[in-house]
């Protein structure tokens, strides 16, 4: 074979091999095994998906092959980039929030943990320093912990536009207590109130944690509360401020507790609040048992206040107000509410109480009775009252009431003491 023939054959070989190579190159598929697996799973997924439309169109796209997608392509140590990447692949906003909220939560959980390095969850026998402690170190840690919570919420809002934890709580039926408490004003003012209250609340928290407070501490607490109210007055309109005060001021909170069983109207509550507020310092509890002047001043303030309330409410309504100051009456109302019975039944039962107590007093002061006769008479009063109450309230409510607010029934008859031999 001469050289020319060899060259000819070789060129033919070149052409054949080139054609074969081009064919192979064109028919080659993306080939990583996990890509194929993912395709297979997505195929099944596609079959499982409910059809969103009744009609199906086939669109032919050329020159577009998908490269294998990896989560690492979108994951980033930079939260903003991570969010942007997730959005870029059409990750639903709700899922973006779930992913970011979990990441941010974990990040801040670590930061919070670092504030209490000595606390190890598995050391079940060790006391928890964050619990009830009032030391300066602990107060400082609590403040830092609150600051971290705030920082977390702000970070989430800056990344996602909303605080997803708050949103999740809402979905679970737990509305943010601030939103609920300040529902009467705008979002902007709510935020201003939060900011303004923060420093006062921190100082107040430190004082609240002191379990043995003295009168100076109490004075400081009242001063801070007044300053906090004044700050709110600077943010809100007069009408809004009135609502704010009646919802959040400590006097109002205490009043809601004290008037349990009275059920005042909005106007009555407003008026009693004003009367109490005007005498706030004089009505403050005097803790020093040796401070006779202080005790006397307080007593006078209480009497004067009651006179004002009586004038405002009228005779009959004031009687109901007075009942509600009695713990046993409050307990009666609670027992009725617990059993879904009308609370007006409490008034009749309370009349029985006052009647029985008056009768018992008469028996006790009756000099003509022997001790045995007196005891028998008192027992009869108690028996009669118990029977009447049971009829009035029903067996269930009476039995429950007897074990909570009905201690006065036992006091009708003196306790029999057993003498030691």
């Amino acid at each position: 074979m001469n050289t020319r023939a060899i060259v000819l054959l070789s060129i033919l070989g070149n052409i054949g091999l080139l054609a074969c190579a081009i064919h192979l190159h064109r028919s080659r598929k993306p080939s990583l095994p996990s890509y194929a697996t993912a395709q297979a799973q997505t195929a099944n997924l596609a079959k499982a998906l409910p059809s969103r439309a009744t009609e199906t169109k086939v669109e032919v796209v050329t020159n577009d092959v998908v490269a294998e997608f990896r989560w690492q392509q979108i994951e980033s140590a930079n939260c903003k980039a991570y969010v942007a990447n997730l959005r870029a692949i059409d990750c639903p906003e709700e899922t973006v929030r779930d992913i970011i909220a979990a990441d941010v939560n974990k990040l801040y959980a670590q930061k919070r943990k670092a504030l209490w390095p000595e606390t190890k969850a598995n050391e079940y026998w060790k006391k928890d320093p964050s619990w009830r402690s009032v030391s300066a170190t602990e107060t400082d840690r609590q403040a830092k912990s609150r600051a971290l919570e705030k920082e977390k919420s702000e970070l989430l809002k800056s990344l996602l536009g909303v605080d997803p934890i708050k949103e999740r709580n809402k979905e679970n039926g737990y509305e943010d207590s601030w939103d609920w408490l300040y529902s009467f004003t705008s979002e902007e003012k709510k935020q201003q109130l939060r900011d303004a209250n923060e420093s006062y609340d921190q100082k107040l928290q430190a004082l609240y944690r002191v379990s043995m407070r003295d009168d100076d501490d109490e004075k400081e607490i009242r001063k801070l509360r007044r300053e906090k109210l004044a700050a709110a007055a600077g943010i809100l309109s007069p009408q809004e401020f009135e609502e704010y005060e009646l919802r959040t001021a400590q006097i109002a909170v205490q009043l809601r507790h004290d008037l349990d069983g009275f059920e005042p109207s909005a106007q009555e509550f407003r008026e009693i609040y004003k009367l109490r507020k005007a005498r706030e310092d004089d009505l403050a509890y005097v803790s020093d048992p040796d401070d006779e002047d202080g005790q006397d001043k307080r007593l006078k303030a209480v009497t004067a206040l009651e006179q004002q309330i009586k004038q405002m409410l009228g005779e009959q309504c004031f009687a109901e107000y007075e009942h509600a100051q009695d713990h046993s009456y409050k307990e009666l109302v609670r027992a009725l509410k617990q059993n879904d019975l009308p609370t007006m039944l409490a008034n009749k039962a309370y009349e029985m109480k006052t009647g029985a107590e008056q009768a018992a007093r008469r028996v006790r002061s009756d000099e003509s009775l022997s001790p045995e006769q007196r005891n028998e008479a008192l027992k009869a009063i108690r028996g009669e009252t118990e029977k009447g109450l049971s009829q009035q309230l029903g067996e269930n409510v009476f039995s429950s009431y007897k074990r909570s607010g009905g201690y006065w029934l036992n006091n009708l008859v003196p306790r029999e003491t057993t003498r030691r031999p």
């Binding site: 050289t3 192979l24 080659r28 993912a38 009744t54 998908v66 997730l86 079940y124 379990s211 109302v333």
Partner: protein, 414 residues
């Protein structure tokens, strides 16, 4: 010509090498596609965009590599393929858990929505216990508890994850080692079920009480932990039961967070005290006051504890239970005082009470002499306490220190 022949043969060799290489690499995906029964439609759904009218299927014809991925390709109405798809794109397991847990959480929250009453409007004049914004119907609370149990089961099945542990990780609550991890899963599930049942029963009692815990409710609440203890005892060995309860029971939590705040117990001491307290609790009748027999048995249990802790530590333990000592300690803590001052005053209290008791028992003293002696003890004690605490702190402490007043109580008005 010779050079042309060499060049052509060289090209042939190169092309033959390329072709051989292509043959080695190409068959795998084809086999996989065949095995998974994949067709053109499958391939097209992988890159389909979000439909805006009729469903659009896209058919890929050529091979230019482009990065194109949409979340819809992994999403599914069914959690299992959703998780499989996320795994297929190498989504980290932790992120998968975050996504699925949040999703399942929302799913159950939505299930509860029809039963949930909206929060009550804030009426500033509404008083007392009725002032509750989250008061829901019994059906709601029942469903909430049942869904809680179901949710944990679903997540366990989907991810093998423990919902409570995952939440603890996310929110930084204490991640504790499971003391029962050496036990079979079935036993652990049973324990979890009993605990959930207990929580459900307890919340039901609270719900019924409507914030009014009377003595009948207290009896019911007291009986529950005992019932749980008995139920757990049927599932766990005594040693496992103890290990579990010393970490998780209400009694143990109360010791950790309240009773032993002033004691600093070692693990051994904590376990010994827990055992004593638990034994004493089990000796107390479920209702009413302890009887004489149970009180005697409790004394025996206490004596065992004394032996176990040793004389000195037992004394310190008793001191730590004293409300007065706890008050003093908190006062010292809040006002930056040394603990030594607290110990000093507590010692003084003991001495002053003993001295006052001796005076009261001394029958040789007249009423006036007795009164004068008690007044002197009181004055001397107050002076020492003032020196230890400072004027302001003493004034505060005096409000709570009934023992100081009782050294020489003021005569009762006639």
């Amino acid at each position: 010509m010779k050079a042309l022949a060499i060049l052509s043969i060289g090209i042939n060799l190169a092309l033959a090498g390329y072709v051989a290489m292509q043959f080695r690499e190409s068959p795998e995906p084809v086999r996989q596609q065949a095995a998974s029964g994949q067709d053109n439609n499958t391939k097209s759904s992988f890159i389909a965009r979000r439909p805006t009218g009729p469903r659009v299927e896209t058919l890929v014809l050529s091979n230019v590599v482009a990065s194109d991925f949409s979340w819809r390709k992994v999403e599914s109405d069914d959690y299992r393929p959703y998780i499989a798809n996320l795994r297929a794109i190498s989504c980290p397991e932790e992120t998968i858990r975050d996504i699925i847990i949040a999703d399942v959480d929302k799913l159950y929250a939505r299930k509860l929505t029809p039963l949930r009453k909206p929060p009550a409007e804030f009426k500033f004049w509404t008083t007392g216990e009725s002032f509750s914004r989250y008061d829901q119907s019994p059906e709601y609370y029942k469903a909430q508890s049942e869904f809680g149990i179901e949710k944990s089961k679903v997540l366990k099945e989907l991810l093998g994850a423990d919902y409570q542990k995952e939440m603890a990780k996310e929110y930084g609550w204490g991640e504790t080692k499971d003391p029962l991890e050496h036990l079979p899963q079935e036993t652990r599930d049973k324990v979890a079920e009993l605990n959930q049942k207990f929580a459900l029963q307890r919340s039901e009692i609270h719900r019924k009480a409507k914030g009014h815990i009377d003595s009948a409710t207290q009896d019911e609440l007291r009986a529950l932990p005992r019932k749980l203890h008995d139920d757990l005892a049927a599932v766990l060995s005594p040693a496992d039961l103890f290990d579990f309860e010393v970490r998780t029971s209400d009694l143990a939590r109360n010791m950790k967070y309240n009773e032993l705040q002033a004691f600093d117990a070692t693990e051994e001491e904590f376990r010994a005290i827990f055992k004593t307290k638990q034994d004493a609790e089990l000796l107390t009748p479920e209702q009413g006051q302890p009887n004489k027999a149970s009180l005697d048995e409790r004394k025996e249990v206490d004596a065992e504890l004394k032996q176990s802790l040793g004389e000195d530590r037992y004394k310190e333990y008793q001191r730590a239970q004293d409300g007065d000592y706890q008050n003093l300690l908190r006062l010292a803590e809040s006002r930056g005082m040394e603990r030594t001052a607290v110990d000093q005053i507590y010692q003084l209290k003991d001495e002053a009470q003993k001295a006052a008791s001796e005076v009261r028992r001394n029958t040789e003293l007249s009423a006036e002499q007795r009164s004068a002696a008690l007044a002197a003890i009181k004055a001397e004690t107050e002076k020492t306490v003032t020196e230890a605490l400072g004027e302001r702190n003493f004034k505060t402490y005096k409000r709570y220190a009934y023992w100081l007043r009782n050294l020489n109580p003021a005569p009762r008005p006639p």
